[in-house]
């Protein structure tokens, strides 16, 4: 789960990690007022669920309230397109107004999971403010890592090594030790999959300050943090993805026209791969889960139908614990609420197959059932092709 920079900074602050004075605003008027209140050179930062904002014009410095007004006006009507958003961009609905800070030096600091060692890994670099993966590629000697043993955590000596590797001196070493330990504490208590401070800076007045911060939460741990739900900014998500989340469906919108409903993530990915191999373009990734029930199947099918780009649907369900008649019933339930004349190809395998097939064949839907993945994909792609031909004539 993603959150905004301003939310991440509030969390940092609550763990004793210094951040610039700032406040989040949602209107031009509020932006003006905040800049007036700070009474100094300020920076306006567009809050979106993606990085690369600076280069895309989403971060601007302003001298006074008047300038803040102009910049906020421009940002708030913008769909910001950065290297991470895709071509559609993300709407700017919130702006972080911050005091600017005179910077002496920039660093990079993050903690995330290292899958190879199954440990959280702290990464620090004296080269901050830039793309860390680029640093890792070009000058790996400038990256310092600490694989944290969960049984002993980040000890003073660990953190001191990090501080020294960054070239810190005097009181800043002690400040850095505290900061690193607090960051690890934050990661654990908040169940983060990533906390990244980039850049972490030394200000001209010799303070360590987190200038920009990114936090991702572990989706599997959300049950421990019911308060996270209200942090979600719906304006940053696809409306169908929001709906899918409500029913605990893994849904990702793609650019094609064949809606897909599959049980199991691996099989869903494989299904998309075969669709592409046969010349089809999937409209989505949708995993209804291993043990989906009738309601869940119906909700999943409705989400597919709501995507106006969808011109045909392929269902691929490998039973096991799911019964084929339940799947058929779910599809029929959905089409009672949202009518559907699109071609549907259903590949089912599992228990109560004949019951499922006969339910579908009696449903009056434009549906065909097939027995194998290859047949199913060939069939849906062929039917979509036919349809295109009719239109062309």
């Amino acid at each position: 789960m993603n959150i905004h920079e301003y939310q991440a900074k509030e969390i940092l602050k609550s763990f004793g990690i210094p951040v610039p004075n700032g406040c989040m605003v949602k209107s031009v008027r509020q932006a003006e007022k905040s800049v007036e209140k700070f009474g100094c050179l300020c920076v306006l930062k567009a809050q979106i669920y993606a990085g690369g904002r600076g280069k895309a014009g989403g971060i601007k410095t302003v001298q006074d309230a008047g300038q803040a007004c102009d910049v906020a006006k421009e940002l708030l009507k913008k769909k910001l397109v950065t290297i991470q958003t895709g071509t559609h961009g993300l709407a700017v609905k919130r702006i972080l107004v911050e005091e600017t800070i005179a910077i002496e030096k920039e660093f990079y600091l993050s903690i995330t999971l290292d899958r190879r060692t199954s440990r959280y890994c702290l990464i620090a670099s004296a080269q901050g403010g830039i793309d860390i993966e680029e640093v890792a590629r070009t000058s790996p000697e400038k990256i310092h890592t600490l694989y944290i043993d969960p049984f002993i955590g980040v000890r003073d000596y660990h953190a001191r090594r990090i501080a020294l590797s960054l070239g810190l001196k005097g009181r800043l070493i002690e400040d850095c030790i505290k900061l690193v330990q607090n960051l690890y504490k934050l990661l654990l208590e908040k169940d983060c999959s990533l906390v990244e401070i980039n850049p972490l800076v030394i200000s001209k007045d010799q303070r360590l300050i987190a200038m920009d911060c990114k936090i991702n939460f572990d989706d599997n741990a959300l049950f421990r943090h019911p308060d996270y739900e209200k942090m979600i900014d719906d304006s940053q998500l696809d409306s169908l993805e929001i709906q899918a989340k409500k029913y605990d469906l893994a849904y990702i919108k793609l650019n094609g026209n064949i809606g897909c409903m599959v049980n199991g993530a691996g099989l869903a990915m494989a299904t998309l791969d075969v669709l592409k191999e046969y010349g089809g373009e999937p409209a989505n990734f949708l995993d209804v889960g291993g043990g989906a029930n009738r309601e869940k199947v119906a909700e999943a099918f409705k989400i597919i139908l709501k995507d106006k780009k969808v011109k045909g649907i392929f269902v691929n369900i490998f039973g096991g614990i799911m019964h084929c008649d339940i799947i058929a019933q779910g599809i029929i339930d959905a089409t009672k609420q949202i009518s559907c004349e699109l071609p549907i190809v259903v590949r089912m395998d599992g228990s109560r197959l004949s019951e499922g097939k006969s339910l579908l064949s009696q449903s009056g839907l434009n549906v065909e059932t097939v027995d194998t993945l290859a047949d199913g994909v060939a069939k849906i792609v062929q039917r979509m092709g036919k349809k295109r031909k009719v239109i062309a004539n």
């Binding site: 190879r116 969960p150 993530a265 099989l267 791969d273 990734f285 995993d287 039973g319 395998d349």
Partner: protein, 295 residues
């Protein structure tokens, strides 16, 4: 022979009184697995559907001499269940539970380093030795006794692969679903080592997917150690970057974890990679034939 489990394995089910716990305990018993009871704290001393229920795993082990556990405990308590199994002296824990927080698994994984218990999963379909024993949630009927070892990061995709193998007459020695999470117990190499030493296994099929570098690491090991013909399929060739594709582990970030890279490395290390999930059996056959020609 086969690996990990056989007809003599004595199995306990942690979380047996839950809906899915009971369902799968029954299904495994119907398949022929020797399910000797279950654990649900607070329900000790009762029986459910003929299975004796214990309050703690220690008690269950003392009474039943179980050496294998199947864990179907809900995610908030699943890490605790794995630790209880390791602490109690179980040899093999198969954790089906999906959605265990990473923070919990980091601790579990570290504890397992100093413990002899093998962990399969979490977030996996389990283990099956066809015709003998199932410890998991896979549909038993699609499996066929034979000589192909299957190891997979996926669930239903494994069923798809197994069905194609069975339909083509390629039965399986044992199928192991190692799970789709970023932190799992046994990895590809741990399972490949067992298949390598198992006389019943004549060939191995690997099912991988985007995310992490487990397939790349396994490739290197195969190149240096694998004595048996190996084929593979990697899902997610067309997956968009940065999105979590259902499995917590299936995400491509910063150019790492791409399916194309995994396929290339596997091929370079002598593994026959299926070009499509519809051509599983062909790839396995091809790998087996290649070996015949070489010997």
């Amino acid at each position: 022979m086969a690996i990990l489990i056989n007809r003599n394995s004595k199995i306990i089910v942690q979380g047996i009184t839950g809906k899915s716990g009971l369902l799968h305990a029954r299904q495994c018993r119907d398949y022929g697995s020797h399910i000797v009871g279950g654990v649900t704290p607070g329900k000790g001393g009762t029986t459910i559907d003929g299975f004796p229920v214990f309050d703690t795993l220690n008690e269950a082990i003392l009474t039943t001499q179980a050496t294998v556990t199947m864990i179907l405990v809900p995610a908030p308590w699943a890490a605790d269940a794995i630790l209880e199994a390791a602490d109690g002296g179980i040899n093999l824990a198969v954790c089906i539970t999906e959605g265990i927080p990473v923070r919990d698994m980091v601790v579990v994984k570290k504890y397992l380093h100093q413990n002899k218990m093998l962990l399969v999963g979490p977030n996996c379909p389990g283990v099956i030795t066809p015709g003998e024993c199932e410890v998991g949630i896979m549909p038993g009927t699609i499996h066929k006794k034979g000589n192909i070892g299957v190891v997979s990061r996926s669930g239903t995709l494994t069923y798809e692969v197994v069905k194609q193998l069975s339909d083509a007459g390629l039965g399986q020695s044992t199928c192991v679903g190692i799970g789709g999470d970023p932190i799992i117990g046994m990895d590809f190499i741990d399972v490949l080592k067992l298949f390598n030493e198992d006389p019943e296994t004549k060939g191995v099929f690997i099912i991988g997917e985007i995310g992490g570098d487990a397939e790349e690491t396994a490739s290197q090991w195969i190149k240096e150690n694998m004595k048996k013909p190996t084929a593979a399929y990697i899902a997610g060739l067309t997956a968009p970057a940065g999105k979590r594709m259902g499995h917590a582990g299936a995400i491509i970030t910063g150019g790492k974890g791409l399916a194309a890279d995994k396929i290339r490395v596997l091929s370079e290390c002598g593994v026959t990679v299926a070009s499509s999930p519809t051509k599983i059996a062909q790839a396995m056959m091809q790998a087996l034939n290649k070996q015949d020609c070489n010997s």
